[in-house]
Symmetry: C2
Subunit: 397 residues, 2 copies
């Protein structure tokens, strides 16, 4: 079979991801591996009631195709959602996608020729790297720090490219509580990156998957809120703050862009699943989505704090991390000489799991001293116990 | 924006499809345009009951991610479904996709480098042409006749290619009641094509979207049932004989192939929507899918017959068509000198719609004398009235 396959498959190989999927399937572990929401917080009773109401109201429509752009009422709900957050969209500027993952695949499909240049954070979301790699771009990684990507390094890179007559198609950013780093991009940097986009003529893919999951204080304004020329393509999802199983997410940009994306999506899955769109629309209208965003704060904050405290107590001072203010993840750098894959093997023997940093780098070797620790899906006691075990292993090695 | 976009977008332009989508949105027409099932046949009461039972039983699982390969119980139901139809799959050889459209996109992603050669029927399903074009292959069209693709022409093409040291990656076929032609591939040709695949080393993508929709007599065996070397990649869907809104379909081939496809799908949408998978699995287990397949016969057969009779009564003898035995479509060739786009404009003025043949050809000019007439979504009286109007327009021009 091999000789018949597309070359892009090699680029899409990801051993760490395969490891991750095997780990996620196991229920005998304290798992800091999967970055998925805890089913315990799902508003299952309310959702059951809403689903029954929607089926009663919609009848056969619940089971029919929806349009490629998505259910109009859901798109109008999203207009309200974004208007509350300081933007001024129209519903024709929104398109529903089958999860954010499809939005990333669509971005790749619409923008990328083989060899095109793009920039991602280092570390960056593995699903984004995977989706983009399918279109065979040249990916430049720019390191992040606690307040987000290093803008100076980005500016130097862009300037060097320009001297060679080259440029990038887009930069992909998760500005709030990035996966896997937990970093939040400062307001100052948000504006600086937008200025660079204007100066060097590229797009910003702003992925807000974790933006609602801030457990202290205020949301920051989207980069999109400073954008007056459709440079920022805003992606959003219901998966992290509400439920992920409907596979419903969205893209916001110009009508022209939505039309392009719609054409591409038509060839990818015709339309997203109808049931989830109708249920989410109603959950939005009834205020359940807004309530749920509030509930995430008290639900996940104690887990974040348990992990922060356990890391302080049990990890050596030579390991480096910072404390995020939202999202699902801590990103830990081990002292020199450590190999996170070896640590994972030993941790699995003691029934603790995490993801090695290599999954989040285009060159796996760059990630071998890093761990991503997710606190979203473990009870506080398990977080304390699991981090203690990891700390002991690190100190012993 | 244009200079930043991928080259593949030009290939994905499809004016006819855009026309079609505009027409489908209108409810003031007798529409023979959309190839979608009629909501009137959906078993909404039983589905409501099943959905409520599934939610009660599954709780939060109904809203959580499913695995990339899909719900294991649904894959096991599909094993039973295919075993009843003479195949011997294992559930690890099945993967759930987000509609057949995603299966087609996956096939493109897994097989195609730019410039690779593939074969499709002429005319062929526009969603397949669109999905494949995104990967920029060289598409060779081989004409169909009433008993399916012209195998002799295929053999000649393959032999010529071989003399030049070239070959194709795959052929894409809808063997039963093809969209748009309505043709059914004969048993003899099924075996001949498989022999050619062995001889010239290519894959067969066998899309069974309409295979259950046979309104007279017996199903023919899948090409897959003669395949002993994993050459046939079988695609199937619930959209046409059951309901399409869940966006759930499947691929059956080897475990190795399922693993490859799973890797690609992970980067496309992570997993298909959970709710539809759970509901379909239960509907299958309770026998509702099998009942529904039987119900389609008495539901769609009168519409097929009404269209056949109306075409006999009202279309000129110089127009050519054959009567399909299943599916949703008639494919009509107009007399020389006719232009189906012009006819469509005049028909729309009289509130009748269809799709021009150009949508189903890689070179739109090749389709300008053809119409696709779908009988799936119109009442018998409307079919008679609409065909009469079209016949009058054709005779008048």
């Amino acid at each position: 079979m091999k000789e018949k396959l597309a070359d892009r498959l090699e680029e899409m190989e990801n051993e760490e991801l395969a490891d991750l999927m095997r780990i996620i399937g196991r229920d005998d572990l304290i798992s800091f591996a999967g970055g998925i929401p805890d089913t315990e917080i799902f508003p299952t009773d309310r959702l059951k009631q809403i689903t029954e109401e929607v089926i009663a109201n919609k009848g056969a429509e619940f089971y029919q195709y929806s349009s490629t752009e998505g259910n109009e009422l859901l798109r109008k709900y999203l207009v309200d959602f974004l208007t509350e957050r300081g933007l001024t969209p129209e519903f024709e500027e929104m398109i529903i996608t089958s999860g954010s993952q499809q939005a990333l695949d669509l971005v790749g499909k619409v923008f990328l020729n083989p060899g095109d240049r793009i920039v991602v954070e280092q570390p960056s979301y593995l699903g984004a790297i995977g989706a983009f790699k399918g279109y065979r771009p040249e990916i430049k990684e720019i390191p992040i720090e606690e307040d987000g990507i290093k803008v100076e390094a980005l500016a130097v890179y862009l300037s060097q490219l320009k001297q060679r007559g080259e440029s990038i198609k887009f930069i992909y950013l998760v500005p709030d509580y990035s996966n896997p780093s937990g970093a939040r991009l400062s307001v100052k940097k948000r504006k600086e990156i937008l200025n660079l986009a204007e100066k060097y003529n590229f797009y910003i893919i702003e992925d807000t998957a974790y933006s609602e999951l801030n457990y202290y204080g205020q949301r920051l304004d989207y980069i999109k809120s400073y954008d007056s020329s459709d440079r920022v393509i805003l992606l959003g999802s219901f998966s992290k703050f509400f439920v992920p199983g409907f596979r419903i997410a969205w893209i916001y940009n110009s009508k022209q862009f939505v039309q392009l994306v719609s054409k591409a999506k038509q060839n990818m899955d015709l339309a997203s699943a109808t049931a989830g769109q109708l249920i989410l629309q109603r959950a939005g209208k009834e205020g359940l989505l807004a309530e749920q965003i509030e509930r995430t704060k008290d639900f996940y904050r104690p887990r974040l704090e348990a992990m922060a405290n356990a890391l302080d107590d049990h990890f050596p001072q030579t390991a480096q991390w910072f404390r995020p203010e939202g999202g699902f993840f801590f990103w830990v750098k081990l002292p020199e000489g450590f190999d996170s894959r070896q640590l994972l093997e030993e941790a699995l023997e003691q029934k603790v799991a995490f993801v090695t940093g290599s999954a989040f780098m285009t060159n796996p070797a760059d990630g071998c001293r890093y761990l991503r620790l997710s606190f979203s899906n473990s009870q506080v006691d398990d977080i304390r116990a699991g981090i203690k075990i990891l700390g002991q292993l690190i100190r012993r090695i």
